[in-house]
Amino acid sequence: MKRGLAIVAGLGLLAATYAVAATTPTSQLVEAPFGSRGSLGDTVSSQHLIATVHEASLAHEVELGSWRGTTAGVWFVADATVEATLESKLIEVDLFIDGVQYGGTKRGDGGTVDEHTVAVRFPATGPLLIELPADVVNFPGARSAVLRISPFGDDRLDSVVEIVIDLTTLEVADRVELEPARDGSR
């Protein structure tokens, strides 16, 4: 009887160990930034930034000033207005799909909003450009992609703006012409 009880208790403790190991949050989850979430058209505030993503689309080619952006994938194109809340910030944009991070391109000759420093009460308005795989709309997470706008650098445990976007509903253009980012609101 005692031996049977010991075996059952041992197996129970072993199962509990596996359960604890399997459910322990990863450091990625524990240190995740705090996202203030919204949708296209919403003005969303974080501790550092106030951002509005007015509209978004996909394009096979973009023209931004004198730069002609071609890609083997497809461009995520958004028009956004961003300003700082406490102090001037260099910003960073990333799109997350199925846990994969796609960063804002730095190929646009400085014409995108995320290559500008945004100041308090002096918003900057203009394009955001992110290069994505050609078949991205077929990805399982394409319906709930998250566009993160954050101060440049390590955003762990920091406050960020997040816009949830359904990529499958976006218009896909062969080519779009964009104006470089400028000071002011839309």
Binding site: R68, T70, T71, A72, V100, Q101, Y102, G103, L132
Partner: protein
Amino acid sequence: MPAKPSPRATLASRVRAWLPILVVGAVLAVAGVVAIPLGGWDTVQLQSAVIPEQSVGDTFVGNRLAISIDDLYLTDDFPDDYTETKPGESFLVVVATLEGLTAEPESPISIGPPSPFTIDGLMNLDERPGYGDLTVFLKRDGTFEPVLSPGVPDTLLFVFTVRSGQFAQGDVLRIGLTDATPEKADIIDGTRWVDEHVAVEVSTTVRDDR
């Protein structure tokens, strides 16, 4: 009460117990004797140490990058169209198509992971080119030091500054495509790469495009 085993039976059972070790020892002894007239085991190339080869244009899929070597040429024209060669210098350009396979943007040449490929005398696993000795451009629009989006392949130009005469048309260079194993980093946020090695080699002939 069971009968006591005889000394003969005990010896036989002991030999049976040691039989596998005796067989292995005998095989090793024979192999050692046979190897002496053949030059010894030092002359044997381990199959596990043989690096497989692939052709120009074929894609190697590693843990961090998928990469193919597309072309290799000498030029005096820097891809930015305004940097000029200094006397006694030329440029060796490796044209390669890369695709990031991780869950984050990848810089082809960065501090943590191994270089995407090696070339003897120019870029090795433990010896990176010095500042100004290697510049990377995106072929499609000349972007300097491009970052690759995951799952979006693109062709890059790796431009090495070399001495005039260091390489010539027709030289065959062995370019080693590298790989490594990702691990969760302890101190920094992100990935550390261990077991860096050359996984595949590509024999590539230098063109002279000067």
